[in-house]
């Protein structure tokens, strides 16, 4: 009676140990990869040894000058802030309509909001960039902002809809009865109650926009590059620059992203960054 169950137990321990070991191995290598970038960005000379010969911060100064990081960071901040603001301003009312109202064509509208999240940016980015260049938006800051808004806006809508659904609709009825029109309901009742959701959505969009490579790459000109695109060009032309200064730039990018990611993770579950399409499990 106990023999087979013990054997089973033994098998399951090995199996789960194997899986967890695999996971640990994966995470360890990611960690070492990041550590290697950090070490290199501070290293003096590092050729085939475990650690560099000495440490310096000169690569950061070099990267700052070589890659014009001041300008790049400024552009990045502009793009990200405008994208976050616009996606919230346009997205929250749309999410409200999806959560609360029944209207003709609702299914079609939902599809319209889901498609940009499941079609990869490079697939729609090329025709989008073509249209942008024809409209003389290509290569400009506005073009970069508009193209980043394409995935950001649906993302805000899909994140906000469940937040709105959970607010008691009789609160809106009450506000309406006591004389508030839709605009005032938003201002006095919904927005204050939705603040945690809006904050979470803003942070998620912020992180995703900093890291959005493809769309910015396709629509940016020399003056409208964001950090991640500048980093791409730096890595692409690695032979020309010292690898340490590229790594220093990578560190700047990593810091800019991780700070916001860590803030975002205080408010949201890590899975919310990826599970963009909410699907009910089968029933």
């Amino acid at each position: 009676m106990s023999a087979p169950s013990e054997r089973r137990h033994w098998f399951y321990s090995v199996w789960s140990g194997l899986l967890l070991g695999l996971m640990a191995f994966f995470i360890l290598n990611i960690g070492l990869m990041v550590a290697a970038v950090v070490t290199n960005s501070f290293g003096r000379r590092w050729l085939g040894t475990w650690l560099p010969e000495g440490y310096t911060t000169q690569w950061y100064a070099a990267a700052w000058k070589e890659f014009q990081l001041g300008d790049v960071l400024w552009v990045t901040a502009e793009v990200v802030l405008v994208v976050v603001a616009l996606s919230i301003i346009i997205g929250v009312p749309a999410a409200y309509a999806l959560a609360r109202r029944q209207f003709r064509g609702k299914q079609l509208v939902m599809l319209l909001f889901i498609l940009p999240l499941i079609i990869p940016p490079i697939t729609y980015g090329i025709p989008m960039a073509t249209v942008m260049y024809q409209a003389h938006l290509g290569g400009t800051l506005s073009g970069v902002i508009l193209s980043n808004l394409v995935p950001a806006l649906p993302f805000v809508i899909l994140v906000m809809t469940p937040f709105i659904e959970q607010i008691d609709p009789t609160l809106e009825s009450a506000a309406r009865v006591f004389g508030a029109n839709t605009l005032r309901i938003f201002w006095h009742v919904l927005i204050p109650l939705l603040m945690p959701g809006i904050l979470a959505a803003s942070l998620l969009v912020l992180v995703r926009t900093i890291a959005m490579f493809e769309l910015t790459f396709l629509t940016a000109g020399p003056d409208s590059q964001t950090l991640v695109v500048a980093l791409y060009y730096a890595v692409f032309a690695a032979g020309v620059r010292a690898p340490q200064s590229v790594d220093a730039m990578a560190m700047v990018y990593m810091a800019a992203t991780l700070v916001w990611l860590l803030i975002a993770l205080r408010f949201v579950n890590p899975t919310q960054l990826v599970s963009r399409v909410k699907e009910q499990p089968a029933h």
């Binding site: 990869m33 290697a36 940009p116 990869p120 697939t123 992203t257 579950n269 890590p270 499990p281 089968a282």
Partner: protein, 290 residues
């Protein structure tokens, strides 16, 4: 007119004011470019209406990109989802460990492929720590070649794709009511039986979606194919062909055609996977077991 609106059973007043801006924006910058690209792809600079497509499928330099992209993305997606499923199942209980793993895994996704590429060049490169470590253990002597080739792109797709597949799968796994498995356990089902008879059928739709999203992402690989691959040959992927057509040859018509082919190829796989899922699991899931 306003009387009609008020008498309709639905409140429609102002609804289009709320969704309108978002809909108009996406129509202008998402739907319209798609439609325009589609139209443009059939209006080549020279030749018949189908000249771009004929060129794509006759020029080896072009059609090979489709094959290469499939060779990269399909195995990588199967690997990523195949690993994600058992590990997510293992970590399905809410523990501090689960929280840590998810937090750590979200980092490579957020950082994105460009940074992963730079990290790989430093860490997996011939003078990187991994190479040194393998030499120290005498597992592999001489500098290893893990970057600037096919392997490099595969590695990069695993590094960015596995966490994605894992987190998505985990969100589906944790969405399943654990009391169902417990009920099965009281009837004598061990972990494997619980997985096989409870979780797998309930997970099927989520897994199909995870597979599709992971595949579509791998299929549209771009920066890592350039930065850690060999973009002139072995890892010349289809998105690269589209990019070159648009921004190096300024042949937007050809670029649009390549983008349409890329989208169509993704669509075929997605439809196939969703169809397969429906065919496989219609019985058990529809039977009201959920």
């Amino acid at each position: 007119m306003s009387a009609m609106a008020a008498r309709s059973p639905f409140r429609t007043d102002g609804t289009w004011l709320l969704v309108g801006p978002a809909v108009i924006f996406l129509m202008l910058f998402f739907i319209y470019p798609f439609g325009y690209g589609f139209w443009l792809s059939f209006n080549p600079a020279e030749g018949a209406w189908s000249a771009n497509y004929q060129k794509f499928f006759s020029d080896e330099h072009l059609w090979r990109t489709l094959i290469v992209t499939f060779q990269l993305s399909l195995p990588v997606t199967i690997l990523n989802v195949g690993l994600a499923l058992p590990i997510a199942f293992q970590l399905r209980r809410k523990t501090r460990y689960q929280r840590w793993v998810t937090t750590l895994l979200v980092i490579p996704i957020t950082l994105g492929t460009v940074l992963i590429a730079e990290g790989m060049l430093t860490y997996f490169g011939p003078r990187g720590w991994l190479s040194q470590f393998l030499q120290l253990l005498h597992i592999y002597d001489g500098p290893i070649r893990l970057t600037h080739n096919f392997t490099g792109v595969v590695l990069s797709l695993v590094i960015s794709g596995f966490p994605f597949a894992f987190l998505l799968t985990l969100s589906y796994v944790t969405g399943i009511d654990p009391t169902l498995a417990r009920a099965a356990a009281t009837l004598g089902a061990g972990p494997w039986d619980q997985f096989r008879h409870i979780y797998l059928p309930l997970l099927a739709p989520g897994l199909a979606i995870t597979f599709c999203l992971a595949f579509v992402q791998a299929f549209s690989v771009f920066p890592s194919a350039v930065l850690v691959g060999a973009p002139s040959g072995p890892t010349r992927v289809i998105s690269l062909a589209a990019y070159e057509a648009a921004f190096e040859q300024y042949d937007y018509s050809m670029a649009s055609a390549v983008a349409m082919i890329m989208g169509f190829a993704q669509l075929i796989v997605v439809v196939a996977v969703l169809g397969l899922r429906r065919g496989l699991y219609r019985g058990p899931v529809g039977g009201g077991k959920g």
